[in-house]
């Protein structure tokens, strides 16, 4: 994997601009022809270039680091197996600072300076939404690993895909049957007062209602809050389950204060591991979570029934049985999400092979080939589990894990079915022009 920067790299870019100047191009055409032929020949063996829009800095940095590690491991495996269409794959990384404005600039840079074949790897929703117009305008296939519902909402554009990780609407919906059957019927939600929390606020109540359970209170906590005790009296006494999705550094305080508020006599707790990605579950203050349950996309801790593919994936990425970096137990991974990078790259590989992809001129073919994909079987390319793909909304659907905190580890106690997370399509990208 390499970082590349070309400051006024005229060698890479003048051809296109000259083509725009048709008058000049007519005269220069003959002189340029030999070089152009050389370029065409080289293209067949030149590496496929993937632009990785990484959150190296900003709020997403912890995720970005692990997304890079997973991507590097996947690319190494793909290249070792012969690459894509016989060509090696090269990843070019640009930091978007987890900022939507910079994100759009980075997509433009990939399209017009690095001239990558695709752009890949974005996590944070606001960066995806901010970058999507730039990708659509550049007709640049943009494969995100975000879990936001924005792609499936069909509000973005035909060039944006999320084939390697399920979206939050599907995740929430598939949690409802287990919560209603095992944790309790009266649920109080505590969530951050911004978009990530709103997804949970909006999608959980109907999903629980369909299972005969109900949300009896919703407590939105401002993102700037650093102490939470004053909100806890709002939790109704009849609450059987507290559904919490607090994120960010304040989560440790949140859990500690919740523990102090309830003591040993607490309702059931159910949360999304997003709160504690890259955080040691045994951190001081988190003892109160013992016995509680979490959603996990892919399990952080190695499980006794892990498939051979899952074991191989963990080894390739370099995480130990506790989900931390091999050799550094304090460097906890973002295991629940980062598998999406691995799986997305294998989807890209499959789609490029199906499309007979040769270069940027085949990007439209790549879009259509990706839309034509239907399912991904569990295996080395999809170690998290089997998935289906809806080409109309550019979104995959898969299984989810529910894990219990037990003895300082997360133990998977339930795996949902793909069907649990399916929902009615909200639109159809394939009707948009390419």
């Amino acid at each position: 994997m390499t970082d590349k920067n070309g400051f006024f790299d005229l060698s890479k870019t003048t051809l296109t601009r000259r083509n725009a100047l048709k008058g000049l191009a007519a005269g220069a055409g003959l002189a340029m022809a030999p070089g152009f032929v050389r370029y065409s020949q080289a293209q067949s063996s030149a590496p496929i270039k993937i632009g990785f829009q990484s959150h190296r800095t900003g709020i997403g940095a912890a995720y970005g680091r692990w997304y890079e590690k997973t991507t590097a491991a996947a690319i190494k495996a793909i290249n070792a197996a012969g690459g894509i269409n016989g060509r090696q794959v090269e990843v070019i990384i640009e930091d978007d600072g987890t900022d939507p404005g910079r994100g759009a600039e980075v997509v433009g840079k990939f399209a017009t300076q690095h001239k990558t074949d695709i752009v890949f790897g974005t996590l944070f929703s606001h960066v995806v939404i901010g970058s999507a117009p730039a990708a659509g305008e550049a007709k640049m296939p943009y494969f995100v690993v975000s879990e936001g519902h924005h792609v499936a909402s069909t509000k973005l554009n035909r060039y944006v895909f999320q084939p390697g990780i399920t979206d939050v609407k599907s995740q929430i919906q598939s949690m409802a049957p287990w919560i209603a059957a095992n944790a309790g019927k009266k649920v109080t939600q505590i969530f951050p007062d911004f978009a990530f929390g709103y997804d949970h606020r909006d999608y959980l109540p109907p999903a629980l209602k369909a299972q005969g359970a109900e949300v009896i209170a919703q407590i939105a906590i401002p993102p700037t809050e650093s102490s939470f005790t004053k909100y806890f009296p709002q939790i109704p006494a009849e609450t059987e389950v507290i559904y919490h999705v607090m994120v960010g550094p304040a989560v440790l305080t949140f859990v500690k204060e919740l523990g102090e508020f309830y003591g040993s006599n607490r309702p059931q707790l159910f949360g999304f591991i997003d709160s504690l990605e890259a955080t040691d579950i045994n951190s001081p203050g988190l003892e109160f979570l013992d016995g509680s349950h979490f959603w996990e996309g892919s399990p952080r801790y190695a499980q006794p029934d892990d498939s051979a593919a899952q074991k191989a994936y963990r080894a390739a990425v370099g995480i130990d049985d506790n989900g931390a970096a091999v050799g550094d137990p304090k460097d906890v991974s973002t295991a629940a999400h980062m598998f999406g990078c691995w799986e997305t790259l294998y989807v890209v590989k499959k789609a490029m092979e199906d499309a007979g992809y040769k270069g940027p001129e085949d990007r439209a073919k790549l879009v259509e080939a990706t839309e034509a994909l239907k399912e991904f079987a569990e295996g080395p390319e999809h170690p998290q589990g089997p998935k289906t793909f809806n080409g109309k909304i550019h979104q995959c659907f898969g299984i989810q894990n529910i894990s219990k905190v037990e003895g300082g580890k997360l133990k998977v106690v339930h795996k949902t079915k793909i069907e649990d997370g399916l929902y009615e399509a909200e639109g159809d990208y394939t009707t948009q022009a390419l």
């Binding site: 400051f7 870019t13 601009r17 930091d95 900022d99 600039e105 606001h126 305008e137 924005h150 911004f194």
Partner: protein
């Protein structure tokens, strides 16, 4: 500082505009796209410079004016289905009204209090965007649909997502604002603003209504910033709360300080410089903001008047 003749001043600015136009045909594709974005952001910086550079009022809340234009135009298209010109007008209107209200309230203070009050109003604006997430898209923001970003003149239509059209639109806005700024600072009104900056009490004593003049400057500044925000929404297709955050109140201050406060072309140079420092250094290290910080410290130490300000001080005293 000597005064340039009108011909010399306008020739310089028209020359700069002509250079930017010619660059449209010469620049490689990537830098062509980047310059379009920089010109739009430079308009934001020019709006900021109007208040900070010429009146000496340091605001830490100008992101709200950029945001007013951004959301005024963006929401007009997304929620109301307005055309591009109408939406741009809505963005300008939002910026003008907001800056008038903020000016009336914030100008009751001066100095540090003015900074704090403007920052607090901007924070209210930012949190209001998050609070009304059902309409604004909250922290995720919204996409301005590509098919709606078309500028129609009768039977002719211009696709704002086309890089050339976008560049020309950005250049047109930049040129217009640059010439308006130049006209203002060379006018009698502009001299009054500078007089207020230099000695407000004395200006009052000379019979000028400094409050009205400052209020007008806030409105002009806020409206220019809103024009930049509206153009950003319509040209680049994204409306998001991060553009109304405190970071985007500090950025125009840095751009202006870098380029040279109270210079008409300084905002463009500062924006350009800062963009490329980040663009280039972020490719080498994730600690690029450290490099940006060091660059800023060095500039403040050795070129306290910014790039163009220092050039004016040392060599070209006539620069407007």
């Amino acid at each position: 500082m000597s005064e340039a003749s009108p011909a010399k001043a306008y020739a310089l600015h028209l020359g700069a505009i002509a250079l930017l136009f010619v660059l449209s045909f010469l620049l490689p594709e990537y830098y062509h796209g980047v310059l379009a974005r920089i010109m739009v952001l430079a308009v934001f910086a020019m709006g900021y410079n109007m208040l900070f550079g010429y009146v000496g009022l340091l605001s830490l809340g100008h992101a709200m004016f950029f945001g007013a234009g951004l959301y005024g135009a963006g929401l007009a298209v997304i929620q109301l289905g307005w055309s591009v010109p109408a939406a741009f007008g809505a963005g300008l209107g939002c910026g003008a009204v907001l800056s008038l209200i903020i000016g009336l309230l914030a100008l009751r203070t001066t100095g540090v209090a003015f900074m704090i009050v403007t920052m607090m109003f901007a924070q209210v604006f930012y949190l209001a965007i998050l609070y009304f997430a059902a309409w604004t898209g909250g922290d995720q923001g919204m996409v301005v649909p590509q098919p709606a970003r078309v500028l129609s003149f009768g039977a002719t239509s211009l696709d704002l997502t086309n890089p050339t059209v976008r560049y020309i639109c950005a250049l047109s806005l930049f040129s217009l604002v640059l010439l308006i700024t130049l006209a203002i600072v060379r006018s009698r009104y502009g001299r009054v603003l500078v007089a207020i900056r230099e000695n407000e009490e004395r200006t009052k004593m000379l019979g000028y209504d400094t409050f009205s003049n400052k209020l007008a400057a806030v409105v002009v500044s806020g409206t220019i910033c809103a024009a930049s925000g509206a153009a950003y929404a319509l040209l680049f297709g994204y409306v998001g709360s991060s553009f109304a955050s405190v970071q985007y109140s500090i950025l125009p201050l840095l751009w202006v300080l870098l380029g040279g406060a109270a210079t008409t072309l300084g905002p463009l140079i500062g924006t350009l410089f800062m963009y490329y420092v980040i663009d280039v250094t972020s490719g080498y290290t994730s600690a690029y903001l450290l490099i940006v910080g060091i660059a800023l410290i060095l500039l403040v130490l050795f070129f306290p008047k910014g790039i163009l300000g220092s050039i004016r001080q040392r060599w070209l005293g006539w620069l407007p």
